[in-house]
Amino acid sequence: MESNKNFVLGVFDDEEVLLHAVEKVRDKGVKIHEVYSPFPVHGLDEALGYKKTRLPIAAFIFGMTGTSLALIMQIWMLGYDWPMIIGGKNFASLPPFIPVTFELTVLLSALGMVATFMIVSDMKPYRWPQQFDLRSTDDKHIMAIDLATNKIAKDDIGAILKESGAQEVNDKNF
């Protein structure tokens, strides 16, 4: 089998053991590619040392896009392109535009956030996600370590994983 990406997987079945293992493995200087777990593990983000997500910034920008788009659209349509008197109000009066503005803000920020998240997480259409071990959707936590980003030998990483409580240590190649 042709393999250009080589991973070592640590399999854990207890989240407490996993949390400590993450700390130990990182202390030894091993870079963790990702941890897959069947349920959210509190404190895992901190243990993995993830940077704060920048998704809210994307959401804000998408939201502002929605707000301006809605306002520009309505003011242009009802104020300039085809002025219409509705309910005796001015052509471009703000209050009736607010509900549409609100809805477009929410819609664009929601859709934009989902799209951003999917792109960042490599979940594109026609792209089968890399599954390291299907048991991570059932009852096991899988710690994936990318050999390409680590200088430590594969066997040493396996030993470190075993030492920190992994039940199994497996190879995975894509």
Partner: protein, 449 residues
């Protein structure tokens, strides 16, 4: 599991509160003298009256109602400065009564939702509830003092065939006077006022008793009992808070009506109460108390303030948009007297900036909600903003063109704030600051978001 904490109401804190109260009294007296000596400014009054008449000229009915109200007030009204004092007293009392009731409401919500995160701050909300009996007595006494000036509908000649007869108000008379004759003693109204406060106080006593008994006895029985009481209270509160809003706020503009008013007043009270709980929690944290309160609990409080600022805006806008769009004279008169009318125009816009724009932008990020430094900026803004909101609800309807926002109003607000703070902190020092045997303490300690 948790070290016992007792809040000590130190003399320095008392002194600070006393200074706020004293400055308030001085400002108030100064304001009254200024208002008395400046006179009512009749020329100015006529000018603005004309502006208003022009604005509503297209709406004959509203114009007629305005004219009629002006006539009635000339007959019965107290001097302008005294009316200002009465209006401000009523506005402040309604505002702070709401803060007290929200204290109990917050506790009840936490029980009904079986919430665990709020254990560290529940005692603060409970302490706020101690204001309920005081505000109840004040409300009753004040009502009899201010009724002729603040509540137009109390005038007898509105209900008698003749020059002063008002068909619209007469149609609503049963709501005030039942079962007595219209124009006499408003038994139904006063009865509601008394019964509401009695109900709220009763539930306050019952829920407080369970909470404090839990400290001594432990177990889950007290929690379960408090939860049942809370559930019943919430049903009662849903009805009473709404009717209280019609009685104490909406009936000032007797001709006008809005089905959003109950929600609107509630939303304003609720977000103010949440901001107040957060401010007190911040104060206690800074003073070295509430050791188990961490950024996660603050995050939840911040989310509450943020979310309900938006909720308030949603209610505000729902009321405004429908009235604006339908453009029915008897409804638009409410906003006409508030937007285009000096001296209220700037307050109308300030209200939206303080209560929506600032909290929305300042509390949007996760970090802002998790740090005391930002919460300590936003929550006072929200509290002051909703004081303006209540000013905007009460004053224009009573004072018409003579309204002002000066030393009288600011002074009284400070006096009320000092009294409310004193009662809250005093009550807080009487019981342990954090529940000792709360069944959900573990959840609160491990709260992580």
């Amino acid at each position: 599991m948790v070290a016992e904490e007792n809040y000590e109401f130190k003399p320095e804190a008392k002194k600070k509160i006393a200074i706020v109260g004293a400055v308030g009294i001085v400002l108030f007296i100064l304001g009254v003298f200024m208002a008395m000596s400046s006179g009512s400014g009749h020329g100015e009054e006529h000018a603005s009256a004309q502006v208003l008449d022009n604005l509503v000229a297209s709406t004959e009915q509203a114009a007629a109602a305005e004219g009629h109200e002006a006539v009635a007030e000339e007959h019965h009204g107290s001097p302008v400065w005294l009316k200002r004092v009465y209006t401000s007293l009523w506005q402040n009392n309604v505002f702070f009564a709401g803060l007290g009731i929200i204290g109990l409401f917050f506790v009840a919500i936490q029980y009904a939702a079986q919430a665990g995160w709020s254990v560290p701050v529940k005692r603060i909300a409970l302490a706020m509830g101690h204001w309920i009996p005081i505000s109840g007595i004040l409300m009753l006494v004040l009502w009899f003092i201010v009724k002729a000036d603040v509540f137009h509908w109390t005038h007898h000649d509105l209900y008698v065939e003749g020059e002063g007869f008002d068909a619209i108000i007469n149609g609503k008379s049963a709501y005030f006077f039942w079962p007595l004759d219209a124009g006499g003693f408003p038994l139904f109204y006063v009865l509601r006022l008394v019964v509401f406060f009695a109900l709220w106080y009763m539930f306050f006593i019952w829920i407080k008793r369970e909470m404090l008994a839990e400290d001594i006895n432990g177990g889950t029985a007290h929690w379960t009992k408090a939860r049942s009481l809370s559930a019943v209270f919430l049903v009662i509160f849903a009805v009473t808070s709404s009717i209280a809003a019609w009685d104490w706020v909406m009936s000032i503009d007797t001709h006008w009506f809005s089905t959003m008013m109950g929600w609107y007043v509630f939303a304003s009270w609720w977000v103010t109460g949440l901001a107040f709980i957060t401010v007190v929690a911040a104060y206690l944290k800074d003073a070295g108390y509430l050791k188990l309160l961490n950024a996660n609990h603050l995050h939840d409080l911040g989310k509450f303030v943020f979310a309900f600022s938006i909720f308030w805006t949603y209610i505000w806008f729902s009321q405004f948009l429908l009235i604006y769009y339908a453009n029915i004279p008897e409804e638009t008169v409410y906003f006409v007297t508030r937007i285009n009318n000096s001296p209220y125009g700037w307050i109308f816009y300030t209200n939206i900036i303080l209560n929506f724009v600032l909290p929305f932008l300042l509390l949007m990020t996760r970090d802002a909600k998790r740090h005391l430094s930002m919460l300590k900026v936003v929550c006072p803004i929200v509290i002051v903003g909703h004081w303006f909101d209540f000013y905007n609800m009460v004053t224009p309807g009573v004072m018409q063109h003579d309204g002002a926002l000066g030393f009288v109003e600011i002074g009284l607000a400070m006096v009320f704030m000092a009294a409310f703070l004193f009662v809250t902190l005093n009550a807080l020092s009487k019981a342990p600051l954090v529940a000792k045997n709360h069944p959900m303490m573990g959840e609160a300690l491990n709260h992580h978001i």
